[in-house]
């Protein structure tokens, strides 16, 4: 089965959005292309990228969930600014996107950490 999200080609779209300029962004060093006016999530999903963040505790992948700025699952670092909701921010040409995998501070033994005692 062909899998995953994609942007509709304008020619095949009954709603027929007027063609737009492309925007090119980088994601962790790779290049992703979308259309001007798309959100970062729209650009990534439209290019078949389904997830771009890993959770802190389990390392599970995450992408868009709520799609309307509520769940913060889709956060990504944009030009050095952390925690930007990809579903809310419009992509700008040249945006440097960095996926986030924020690890927790080093785990401690059950109950307490006496590292400061040393």
């Amino acid at each position: 089965m062909t899998q995953g999200p994609r942007r509709l080609p304008a020619a095949a779209d009954r709603v027929g959005p007027r063609s737009a300029k492309t925007v090119t962004v980088s994601l962790d060093g790779g290049t992703v292309t979308g259309l001007a006016g798309q959100t970062i999530a729209g650009v990534l999903l439209g290019s078949g990228v389904l997830s771009w963040r890993r959770t802190s505790t389990t390392g599970a992948p995450r992408g868009v969930f709520c799609g309307i700025g509520v769940c913060f699952d889709c956060i990504i670092t944009v030009n050095g600014d952390r925690d930007v909701r990809a579903c809310q921010r419009r992509a700008a040409d040249g945006d440097v996107l960095t996926s986030q995998h924020d690890l927790l501070p080093a785990r401690r033994p059950a109950g307490y950490n006496s590292a400061g005692d040393q």
Partner: protein, 397 residues
Amino acid sequence: MSGDVCPDVVVIGAGVVGAACARALSMAGLTVTVLDRGATAGGTTAAGEGNLLVSDKAPGDELRLAQFSLGLWPGLVDQAVAELGPDFPSIEYHRKGGLVVATAAAGAGPLLAFAAVQAAAGVDATPISPAAALRLEPDLNPAVAAAVHYPQDAQVQPVIAAQAMLALARRRGAEVRQGAAVTGPLLGAGGRLTGVMTNRGPMSCGAVVLAAGPWSGEVAATLRVRLPVRPRRGMVLVTTRMPQRVFHKVYDADYVGAVESGEANLQTSSVVESTAAGTVLIGSSRQQIGFDSRLRVEVLRELAAKAIALFPFLAGASVMRAYGGFRPFMPDHLPVIGADHRLPGLFHATGHEGAGIGLSTGTAELVTAAVTGAESPIDAAAFLADRPTLRPYLAAA
């Protein structure tokens, strides 16, 4: 409510101080019932940062209690791990140490002088060079005028600490009743307090420990005793999770002045630390505005500005939450611990203001000694309600 059994002690308040008292009293072999009009660990305990500090305390009675209390925490943590098992959430006790910095040259002298008198009182207060401070905290503002390292300062997750102490008390037969509000005293011969009336009926007991934090004044009034505990509001900012860049409790030297102050007006000073969850907590403000929980943006603004002055990288951090709590403020800046001289049978364990998490363990030992008639582990006279500095406030009204 099985009010038929008469416990040795009723503890009013299931916050961290009440929980500590319940644990210590039950470890002393007494039967304990804890009453809370709300839920456990849901008031001031849930609105603090979990500070176990000696660094902010000047030599004196509170510092003695803090030093005594601090020494009790590792034993408590070990006991919780041993008895409550791995499924119990971690107390997150972390002796991370405090780093107090003066960010302006004018603050250097007072900070170092303060550290010197603290050191004379037995506090591990080590002046370090700005370069050494930057080794401890590489992202600290390099414009540090002076710094003092306090390796004894520690942090806990206060709600889990309180729940652990309640669980340890429960294992020794204590009972915790939520949604149980005290409405009046039960008085015996000679006016002795022999129990409390609650919204669920009367409850007789041998002794009553009042540990209701900032609401202690209200509860005392229902017991017909005046206790000048007032709420002082504190706000804390919480950032989103980020890679760890703050490793100690770091605060500016102004904090000491704010803690010691009786000023009602807003005071802020910056206290910055990271948590086990990867968030950064930014405190803390002090403002006497009664039980007014409305958000005040100016308070948040000051906290943010001062935190950025300590750690410039925080400018780009996102604040996702602000929480405020009411701290039990005493007019003479000392908690009230021990027997009430006016109402036999009533014992106090309140008025710790912003230090109640750290002081809870020691307070509980003093209360237990007072209730059982044992010798107090440290001199407790300074904490009694009839101390000279508190008397004027007891007489009023």
